[in-house]
């Protein structure tokens, strides 16, 4: 007796259709899973068997073979438990195969028959929707996530519910689709940052133009504090952006329970000891790295110069293309990675540079070695560079500064202007830019960066065209001499 159910295996963010075939034959009782299952998938045997008995259903005491097709695709994880269990129930005629038609399934089984959530439900639901399936069996907690794909979820707490649903004895309540995006939560407010007007201005420009930002300065000046407040002044994610971000975070298993949709621009801050694969993504069945988790948000690299150089160089491709493609023996995966890069670093290894109250004790050789850690190519990716000086006590005692909400309104308006009619440079502005190239150490790339930033400055000022003063301000955020090659 043969029955099949449909589920999905993830390759990167892509859900590939997998047919789960269960075949019962006469012979000594045995249970085998074939079709390139990994260890977790192989262990499904024990969970499925206990789950079915715990749900007071019958375990067929016959020779049982489960095949996961296509056989050449590697199956990873515990999400195959539920489809295997359903296929076994159908093969042993405890539910009809007919009733399974049009359904996909994904979920892990507990030994007592409860259904546990797994990662990547959104991607699996989207895969099912694409193939014209109308309903998805999944854990009850994952149901809101599955509903985002526009598929009808069958939320399950227990395997027994699935059986009674398939016998037509129970119907889940229809699921309300999300009309409005929930407001982002957990964003930090810029009002907490006292003083630092120039750095705040740089942050606002970075938000408005989507520029990459490098904050330099002695330790304890609030570089990290500023960077963490960038997501709060970015425009909120649109519905399609939120879905993109949620898909990635779902695959990585990072969705907080109860909040299926990520609506705030993500903020990721990997430690500088992180390996290159953990940042760009990798693994045998490629998984998204920090750069992809920061998609449509901010990737913050604190202590930029402490990151190993190969890691930093690996970020150049996503910074250019907005995607990361990872090739492995098992296959190739493409992850979106359109993030805004914000980095912070000290101006020298001992950290005293830029602090009027301390004297730098670094030798010239150490300084040169520190500078050499950052390639020109990487520094060129930063449109805005700003030195954050140590604030004085007077500033710290000052009244709270402008709140994120007000800044965000300006940012949203400026983004709109940049999208609709990008301001162009006046002749005087062009003349100033040419003078700057002549007089300052400004490369061709540097010139292009200044041009980009000046358009943002003009958009923030709601100016029709880029005037010389806009170019001048953009110039003040160019690569400082301390970081330029000696």
């Amino acid at each position: 007796m043969l029955a099949r159910t449909i589920t999905h295996a993830l390759v990167g963010l892509d859900a590939r259709r997998v047919e789960v075939e269960a075949h019962l034959q006469n012979g000594l009782p045995a249970f085998a899973i074939v079709g390139l299952p990994d260890r977790a998938c192989q262990e499904a045997k024990q969970r499925v068997r206990s789950g079915i008995t715990s749900a007071e259903l019958n375990w067929p005491d016959r020779r049982l073979t489960v095949n996961l097709a296509p056989a050449e695709l590697r199956k990873e994880g515990s999400g195959f438990d539920l489809p295997i269990a359903l296929a076994v129930l159908a093969a042993s005629r405890q539910v009809t195969e007919e009733s399974l038609r049009g359904h996909a399934a994904v979920g892990e089984l507990a030994l007592d028959g409860r259904v546990r959530p797994v990662t990547g439900v959104l991607a699996a639901a989207e895969g099912a929707k694409e193939q014209g399936l109308s309903r998805l069996f999944c854990a009850a907690v994952s149901a809101p996530e599955a509903a985002l794909a526009g598929i009808e979820p069958v939320p399950l707490h227990h395997l027994a519910e699935a059986a009674s649903y398939l016998r037509g004895e129970w119907q889940p309540e229809p699921f309300d689709e999300l009309d409005e995006l929930p407001a982002p939560v957990g964003l930090l407010d810029l009002a907490d940052v006292r003083g630092q007007e120039r750095a705040r201005r740089a942050l606002e420009l970075a938000a408005a133009g989507g520029h990459n930002l490098l904050l330099g300065g002695p330790p304890g000046t609030g570089k990290t504090m500023l960077a963490r407040r960038l997501p709060g002044i970015l425009p909120p994610l649109t519905r399609s952006e939120a879905l993109e971000v949620t898909r990635i975070h779902s695959v990585a298993g990072l969705l907080p329970p109860g909040r299926p949709l990520v609506t705030a621009p993500p903020f990721r801050a990997p430690h500088h000891t992180a390996s290159a694969p953990s940042i760009v993504g990798g693994g045998s069945g490629p998984r998204p790295g920090e750069a992809s988790l920061a998609h449509r948000g901010v990737l913050f690299l604190d202590e930029l110069a402490e990151f190993p150089r190969p890691t930093l160089e690996a970020l150049r491709q996503p910074l250019e293309d907005g995607v990361i493609s990872i090739a492995r023996v098992e296959g190739r995966a493409v992850f979106p990675a359109r993030f805004q890069l914000v980095a912070a670093m000290n101006l020298c290894p001992c950290g005293a540079r830029g602090d009027p109250a301390a004297e730098c004790s670094c030798s010239t050789q150490r300084l040169a070695a520190y500078r050499d850690k950052l390639s020109r190519a990487l520094l060129d990716r930063f449109d805005l560079l700003v030195t954050v000086p140590r604030p004085r006590a007077v500033e710290l005692a000052a009244a709270p500064a402008e709140a994120s909400e007000l800044v965000r309104e300006r940012v949203v308006a400026a983004r709109g202007r940049l999208r609709e009619c990008r301001p162009t440079r006046t002749e005087a502005a062009n003349a100033l830019l040419s003078t700057a190239v002549e007089r300052l150490p400004l490369s061709a790339r540097g010139r292009a960066r200044v041009a980009r930033v000046s358009a943002t400055v003009a958009a923030l000022a709601a100016a029709e065209a880029v005037a010389p003063e806009h170019v001048a301000e953009a110039l003040s955020f160019r690569t400082p001499n301390e970081l330029a090659a000696a």
Binding site: R198, L367, P389, L460, S476, P480, E482
Partner: protein, 295 residues
């Protein structure tokens, strides 16, 4: 430490002791010979010259003073001699090159060695208009004990030596000692009495060196007047306001914003304008005036 050999030096010339410029022959221990590399003629060594030396790990202030001095002395027509080291030396050379002047770099190794390696490009630029010289044969590696000996040539080539920043036991002080021994003028740039970077220069001042308060102090010695560089009259309102505050001393952008009451945007624009005009320079988040204002 190894130093890379760059392209073969074709224009190596050798001056024997009797061919050395007058000033250098007068010192206590003139070199046996001098090797020359660069486009300039030997006569450059006989022109009125000022040496600018100082700490390798200098402060932004020291770097900017060195550069300003190099630029202004060169504009007045003087040759600037220094040691091609990192820090003050390199900035002095760069200042001269900014002004399109002639500068001489004295090395403590063969003239075909680029030491420090990071200054290879700078040496190349110096050679286009000036000279790189050494008493050592081409191929001689840099060694710690060769640098003090090199300093006697720096002091010997110049009629006056300016020490910009020096710690307690700095090589620049050796240069100053040589200059004093040879009866040349020694200038020291006053620094903070609390900073270790100015203990050397401040000690020199206590011992009777001439304090350097502006480029004119040096130019006077040569009977020269500073080249008049008029203040650009087209400075914007914001730039003028920022400049007025900076004339009192260095300040960060945020301090300037508070002092002038300007918004960060217009202020940044004003500062960039001043930088472009060559009046102000930024280092480590701090802005300071580099061109003394003449009223």
């Amino acid at each position: 430490m190894s130093a890379a050999v760059i392209e073969p030096i074709r224009a190596v010339r050798r001056l024997w002791r009797r061919e050395l410029p007058e000033l250098l022959r007068q010192i206590h221990d003139p070199p046996q010979a001098l090797f020359l590399r660069g486009a300039a003629g030997v006569e450059v060594l006989a022109q009125p010259a000022v040496a600018i030396v100082g700490a390798r790990a200098c402060s932004p202030y020291g770097a900017q003073v060195a550069r300003m001095l190099g630029r202004e002395l060169a504009s007045a027509g003087l040759v600037v001699v220094s040691g091609l080291a990192r820090g003050v030396d390199g900035e002095a050379h760069r200042g001269v090159l900014d002004a399109g002047g002639v500068t001489v770099a004295v090395l403590g190794c063969g003239i075909d060695r680029d030491y420090p390696a990071a200054h290879a490009a700078l040496a190349q630029r110096i050679c286009e208009r000036g000279l790189v010289v050494s008493e050592y044969e081409p191929g001689v590696e840099p060694a710690p004990w060769r640098f003090p000996a090199r300093n006697r040539i720096i002091a010997g080539l110049a009629a006056a030596t300016v020490i910009v920043e020096a710690r307690e036991r700095s090589g620049a002080l050796i240069t100053a000692d040589f200059a004093l021994e040879d009866g040349r003028e020694v200038f020291a740039v006053p620094g903070e009495i609390t900073g270790t970077l100015s203990t050397g220069t401040n000690r020199l001042l206590r011992q009777g060196a001439t304090p350097l308060t502006s480029t004119e102090d040096v130019l006077e010695l040569f009977g020269l007047a500073a080249s008049q560089r008029p203040r650009p009259s087209t400075l914007g309102v914001d730039a003028t306001a920022a400049l007025a505050r900076l004339a009192d001393g260095a300040a960060s952008a945020d301090e300037l914003a508070r002092a002038t009451g300007l918004e960060p945007g217009p202020l940044a624009a004003g500062l960039a304008e001043l930088e472009l005009a060559g009046l102000v320079a930024e280092a480590e988040g701090c802005y300071r005036v580099v061109m003394p204002l003449r009223h």
